[in-house]
Amino acid sequence: MTAAEHEVPRLRRDFAALRADFPALRQLVHGKPLAYLDNAASSQSPAVVHEATALQQRLNHSNVHRGVHSLSERATAAFEAARDKVRGFINAASTKEVIFTRGTTESINLVAASFGRRLAPGDEVLITWLEHHSNIVPWQLLCERSGARLVVAPIRDDGSLDVAAFETRLCNRTKIAAFAHVSNALGTINPVAELTRKAHAAGAVVLIDGAQAVPHLRVDVRELDCDFYAFSGHKMYGPTGTGVLYGKTAVLETMPPYQGGGDMILTVSFERSTYNALPYKFEAGTPNITGVVGLGAAVDYLETIDFDAVRDHEHALLEHATRRLLADVPGAKVVGTAPGKAAVLSFVIDGIHAHDLGTIVDREGVAIRTGHHCAMPVMDRFGVAATARASFAFYNDFGDVDRLIAGLHRAVEIFRG
């Protein structure tokens, strides 16, 4: 055995080199270098993801779990390999617990539709004020169908969850507790392990919306002990139209199918059908094979990166951006200041609407999100109709922040003369 075979590959923390892996970041927008700061909406993909999806489409395109021919076997192998990569990425116990969906939204709807069948009048679903619409509306629909009640735990003025209030809203009527790991609008990181313990103590099952967490934090679903964990491929440097629902085997096995169709059945007759084993029972129809293969490539890529260094780097960007915003942009105010929050900077500037900011900084090559961020209750809580939001990824650098601030200066100049 050679020495090289003993070497454990070092995790990458060379962020300038990592940035070079993302072709989209090398373009000019309106003649200016792109500063892409809309990562919480969707993140860019590294070239290895594009190559994996291109290979799948050019040579391996066929259906999965059906054909006995070589292309179908290759596609099936690539698809199932991606499942095992995702399993390892979140430390699930088995690939049976990894269900592919269209995204976080579909993952949550799956649980609301399937697990939700057992809810009855008098039952309660507990969520928090921080949720994205996708972790509110499926539960509202479920409550309308079942007669259950939607209960909302409040947040504090800094955008952190009031954990004590969350706890007082848990009771033996709470059947489901659903909350974000990281808030998309404010960046607040919830104490999800603690919330899960408290919800379990009350007898509720727990769903965590991890869409904003997996791109930035190492997530271990067994350590969190949640029953469900939902996330999207396109926010973790993979393709759109891909998502994951992690579910504990013991819970998934008690649930009826979500959608009916091919792949989710064992036998079908007009009298009765029997259903396939996990996870296929919840994957009716031909899945987004190309996208899932790309998601697998994104996971492979993320596994090469030092996530502790990612946290430090993103935190440094957030600190720099916050400091410059408050020091150099007159009338700027940060919305969401929870301690230890993720690298999301939501802000308003006196007298300039967020959409005007978004349009003006775009002309400087800076992409930010402006609006309600699909979190209208959060906006109402802070008395704003909209905010501007810069959200960072590990490929961002200090130059991106400086271009944002320069764009905001231009907005102030236009509006205040």
């Binding site: 007298g351 300039i352 609407h353 967020a354 959409h355 005007d356 349009t359 003006i360 002309r363 402006t370 609006g371 309600h372 209208m376 906006m379 109709a385 909209a386 231009r410 236009i414 509006f415």
Partner: protein, 149 residues
């Protein structure tokens, strides 16, 4: 003038800072709630119709500079105008916001400033919300709610 100055002309900035006809109208005969679901802009339009004339008109709401200025400019222009004239103006504004650059409608005066949004497809709805609300308030097919979707 660069493209941003073309969009944010002085008349737009002025009407955003000091919107005309802003507030509720107690004796309104028509009230329309307009919403732009893309961005959450909201406006409520109050119209007092007397015979075939817009005797008074006011608006309330929150939105970007384009949306507020468009509402303000619209109310300023149609206050006191016959309904038929307001509806004809709606058509010309629609042409201004979405039509070709070669033949912009003439005679719009200040309202021509709204044409700057043509370079910004995602912002056209900001400018058009107030006009859809107007059409819905005084047109034949009246509704209490309009959206830009």
């Amino acid at each position: 003038m660069d493209e941003l100055q073309e969009l944010y002309r002085e008349v737009i900035l002025d009407h955003n800072r000091n919107p005309r006809n802003f507030g509720e109208l107690a004796d309104a005969t028509r009230v329309v709630a307009g919403v732009n679901p893309l961005c959450g802009d909201k406006m409520t339009l109050y119209v007092k119709l007397t015979g075939g004339t817009i005797e008074d008109i006011r608006f309330r709401g929150t939105g970007c500079a384009i949306s507020v200025a468009s509402s303000s400019l619209m109310t300023e222009r149609v206050k006191g105008a016959p309904v038929a004239e307001a509806l004809a103006l709606f058509e010309r504004i629609h042409e201004l916001l979405t039509g070709s650059h070669d033949h912009p409608p003439e005679g719009l005066d200040k309202l021509a400033a709204l044409g700057g949004v043509r370079e910004y497809p995602s912002r056209v709805k900001c400018a058009s919300l107030a006009w859809h609300a107007l059409k819905s308030a005084v047109g034949d097919e009246r509704t209490a709610n309009v959206t830009t979707e």
